[in-house]
């Protein structure tokens, strides 16, 4: 800690010298510029009183390139309760105060800033709070539940979902879901199936996605995203045959009850399982016979050419002799 502080001080001094350079190239709000003067140059980590470990450095370039790069720091960081600075002491609305207390366990670093997403993205925030992810945090006070930043990255480098670098862009969204849904500890805690990613990757959807098919569905196309529901919730797009028929029907016009079983995370039942075993035995048996036959025949062909050609020639001679006779 002490070492970090000292380093920070030194870097702050450096940053002050470099001030003209930064302010000259920056397009950030004046407020952000002054914060970043120090925070762009700092390094190392600090632990807040609430026990969260934070990076002291905010990369100015990353922040300015982000979707929120033109905003002032204090638009989100409206209040600090525990930090080395004097609190901005802005009037934090009651709504934000309430929300920040709900997500308090999750957002240890700065609950007000984490709640501030709702100022601009109120509809989205509301549907997230009603989702299985949001309710996990709001109702169970889970610190490991997913909220905005767990999917969108950041907090200072959030880019639009249409940006290829966004963790929720089509290119990365499956891996982003996998961060939690392929995690064995979380699977055990929440009772997730552990084969979710494996079964997706082995499905036709997953294989096409892996090969770069531009229309192959990812997790979110079937399960939804901000308002995502547990598969056992009747409101989930993949709950029961009726919902599945609608969901599958979005892409597969005419999807019916038999069809919707085609894509599932469920492990193979006994029929496909034993059919596969049978086919593997058949395949192995055929291949073993084929290879043995080919190798033995090749051996005998070579043997005949090398050792028996003379005999054969003589035989043919005799044959033609017989024919003439």
């Amino acid at each position: 800690m002490k070492k970090n502080r000292r380093l920070a001080t030194a870097l702050t001094a450096f940053a002050l010298i470099a001030l003209p350079g930064i302010s000259g190239s920056g397009t950030a709000h004046a407020d952000a510029t002054s914060c970043l003067l120090c925070h762009n140059a700092m390094s190392g980590k600090a632990t807040t009183a609430s026990g969260a470990e934070i990076e002291l450095r905010i990369n100015t370039q990353v922040f300015q390139a982000s979707a929120h790069g033109s905003m002032a720091c204090t638009e989100c960081h409206q209040a600090f309760t525990e930090n080395p600075h004097a609190a901005p002491d802005l009037a934090v609305s009651d709504d934000l105060k309430k929300l920040s207390s709900i997500i308090g366990k999750k957002a240890k670093v700065d609950p007000v800033a984490y709640s501030a997403c709702s100022t601009c993205h109120s509809d989205v925030y509301q549907s997230v709070m009603g989702s299985v992810h949001g309710r996990n945090i709001a109702e169970k006070g889970a610190a490991d539940g997913a909220l905005c930043l767990d999917c969108h990255g950041g907090p200072h480098g959030i880019v639009k979902s249409s940006d290829e670098n966004s963790p929720v862009h089509r290119k990365h969204v499956v891996a982003t879901c996998a961060n939690c849904h392929a995690d064995e500890k979380l699977a055990a805690k929440y009772g997730h199936d552990t084969n979710i990613m494996e079964s997706y990757n082995e499905s036709f959807h997953g294989k096409k996605y892996t090969l770069g098919h531009t229309k192959a569905p990812t997790c979110v196309n079937c399960h939804g995203y901000h308002d995502i529901k547990s598969k056992s919730d009747p409101a989930s797009p993949v709950f029961g045959t009726v919902n599945k028929t609608t969901t599958c029907g979005n892409c597969h016009k005419g999807a019916n009850a038999t069809f919707v079983g085609a894509i599932t995370h469920k492990p193979a039942g006994p029929i496909p399982h034993y059919a596969e075993k049978g086919l593997i035995i058949l395949t192995m048996g055929t291949i073993a016979f084929t290879i043995a036959h080919v190798l033995l025949e090749a051996y005998s062909d070579i043997r005949d050419v090398v050792f028996r050609r003379k005999e054969e020639e003589e035989e043919t001679k005799n044959e033609s002799y017989n024919e003439c006779a």
């Binding site: 294989k207 098919h213 079983g261 059919a275 290879i291």
Partner: protein, 247 residues
């Protein structure tokens, strides 16, 4: 036998083994087979990194998918045409069942397998005397037939799932698609490996045939080769000289 002496005069240099229509069926069969193998392989092993590169060569996942479906439907139509053509030839009386020319497996084929293995291993010096189609060729032919039902049907179902889903009751929903997927993918691998070893050795790599049997283009087989490789058919057409010699 009396006709043995006069036989050589009537024996042509070569005879037709496959007519043009069969040859076209074969070309369609192997071109679609290769295209299906190449595009399907990339999908089967999608998780292997090189597969993405391979599928890009085929124009990307969408295009490769379309190519695979077009080739699959073409192959199935080729198969249906083949069966129809066989029925037509039979109805016309041009195709008759004879044990020397049939493709239908007969008990003698099993005897031939045993005798051939004994020949390979040096227990006998007498090669089995094959008819128009040796057991190896019958195996080759029926393997494609098997493939058409298993891989062809499952492939059709996977390519047109909505259409085919009407054929199955709802109670099969939980396993039918996985079963179809396994059937298609596993049997396709079997077909590829089988063709690679069996067909390639017997019709390409075998020293007396290398680099390939030209019958697929010319449709003709020389009588010398016929006598050597298909003595029973030779005897059928040109008399029982062999029998006489054996006595």
């Amino acid at each position: 036998m009396s006709h043995t002496m006069s036989a050589p005069k009537n024996i042509p240099a070569e005879i037709e083994r496959f007519d043009l229509i069969f040859r076209i069926q074969h070309v369609l069969m192997f071109t679609t087979f290769l295209v299906l193998s190449f595009t399907g392989w990339g999908l089967k092993y999608a998780h292997v990194e090189v597969s993405s590169w391979w599928i890009r060569i085929w124009g990307g996942a969408e295009t490769a998918g379309i190519i695979h479906r077009v080739a699959g439907v073409t192959m199935l139509l080729d198969f249906i045409f083949h069966v129809g053509y066989l029925i037509y030839l039979t109805a016309q009386g041009k195709l008759k069942f004879r044990k020397e020319t049939t493709l239908i497996p007969l008990p003698k084929d099993i005897v031939d397998v045993v005798q051939n293995f004994m020949y390979f291993l040096g227990f006998t010096r007498k090669k089995p005397r094959f008819a128009k189609f040796s057991y190896a060729q019958k195996f080759d032919y029926w393997a494609v037939f098997w493939g058409m039902f298993i891989i062809g049907f499952s492939g059709f179902a996977l390519a047109f799932p909505i259409l085919v889903s009407g054929l199955f009751p709802e109670s099969t929903s939980g396993w039918i698609w996985q079963l179809l997927g396994i059937m298609h993918s596993d049997e396709a691998l079997l077909a590829i490996v089988f063709i690679l070893f069996w067909h390639f050795y017997n019709e390409h790599l075998k020293p007396e045939i290398f680099p390939m049997s030209w019958v697929w283009i010319t449709g003709k087989i020389s009588t010398a080769e016929l006598k050597h490789r298909h003595p029973l058919e030779y005897d059928l057409h040109f008399g029982g000289k062999q029998e006489e010699k054996e006595v």
